[in-house]
Amino acid sequence: MSKYSVFSLVRNAFSYHEKWQRAWRSPDPRPEYDVIIVGGGGHGLGTAYYLAKEFGINNVAVLEKGWLGGGNTGRNTTIVRSNYLWDESAALYEHALKLWEGLSQDLNFNVMFSQRGVMNLAHNLHDWRELSRRVHAIRLNGIDSEILDAQQVKAEAPILNVSPNSRYPVMGASMQRRGGTARHDAVAWGYARGADMRGVDVIQQCAVTGFAIRNGRVEAVETTRGRIRAKTVGVAVAGHSSVLADMAGFGMPIESNPLQALVSDPIKPVLDCVVMSSAVHVYVSQSDKGELVIGAGSDGHVSYSQRGGFDIIEGIMGALCELVPIVSRLKMMRQWAGIVDVTPDRSPIIGRTPVDGLFFNCGWGTGGFKATPGSAQVFAATLAKGEPHPLAAPFSLDRFRTGRLIDEAGAAAVAH
């Protein structure tokens, strides 16, 4: 596989860019692998990549029922940040953010990671106190975070209406300048290419239909392309985690909800940071194409429909028109939903399950994209060693029995 560089770009320009190699193979599944990863999104492909790169395990298959990055990896609003309240979350998401900072070089694939800053607004006194507490807690964990007053917010994002007479007056904001956005598809593609280069079989159009389990140990997975044996299986399927857990015969503390997002028609640059507001539950950034990328809320009921209710869109667009008045003149081009796997404490589940050899990485809920490299790396370590990576250990499934929850429900920078 050729390395991407300015020289390969020039070389290919002479052949009118018609001779670029395919970025990864499309192999048929072999009968047996050392490790099978179920789910070809960022987390699954990244896990395969780190297994091959850092742990020398390259007899690995990634099974994807649709196409690469067609699930939540391609459906999120691409925001990356690590401003979490609790120590366990801060350590995990900051680990991910540090990997983001070198990811394009590491993968030799431009994931367009742009540290344009993430701003979380406070609209009332309670927001303001909570935000101040969170900023200080984050700084104690050695993560960058600062407090901006209303005028500084206005300077960062002039399109915001910060007037005290507005429907949602802005008192101030927290700002994480190392946060930002990345190109979500490129993350899946970069990891797929990097894993494939190291011998991993990335198999698309291959849905898992069951697990072969004997004496409490996983032996193989049943798929639409036949039975594939493996002693270690890692599952990273986001919204469908409960469905896979049900196939393996155990329950999960997860509910799946549609979470919606939408984009406007492209306009000239008006916003060079990410703006989030928990109180009105909206987040907005501007893509390099010029579209405003707008994250909405999730439906309150279990659904796998990948649609989401129109009332959610109505609610957030109403609020956004108050907060960012120019939005009222924009057309919304596309709307979609991803199925998010929400846990009771809004923190992920990474590690062992009641079935030996079967590991889950799930429960990322509404905020999995930002964690992709960190999640993949600690999950790869967990699969390679058979025991949880130190950063993943607090996020065990067992915490729901012991009561050691990591309650980010009201604590994380965005209301869920």
Binding site: S242, M252, V302, G309, F400
Partner: protein
């Protein structure tokens, strides 16, 4: 958005209602007598079915009464509405 047939008010828009998750989760009779794992299962484990899901709704902006719904979570189609205390009806997608 879908229409929900409240057993008392008739069909109304979904925004008048709130969903409160899986129905027929029974609180253990004697919490002290069961293990932590069983208690965790009651508190946190949910069926989260892809297919027919039996769930509780409340008509928050209407009569404020609770009832149960059987809904296909793949299509969001409501298949049955029944009152609290009634057994879950057998339905097909």
């Amino acid at each position: 958005m879908f229409l929900i047939g409240c057993p008392w008010c008739g069909p109304r828009q979904q925004i008048e209602f709130h969903c409160h998750g899986e129905a027929h989760v029974t609180r253990p009779n004697d919490p002290d007598a069961i293990s932590d794992a069983e208690w965790a299962d009651y508190l946190f484990s949910r069926v989260n079915t892809l297919g027919i899901h039996y769930e509780r709704w409340v008509h928050s902006h209407g009569c404020r009464r609770w009832f149960n719904v059987a809904r296909d979570t793949a299509t969001d189609r409501i298949l049955a509405v029944y009152r609290m205390g009634e057994a879950a009806p057998k339905v097909k997608t």
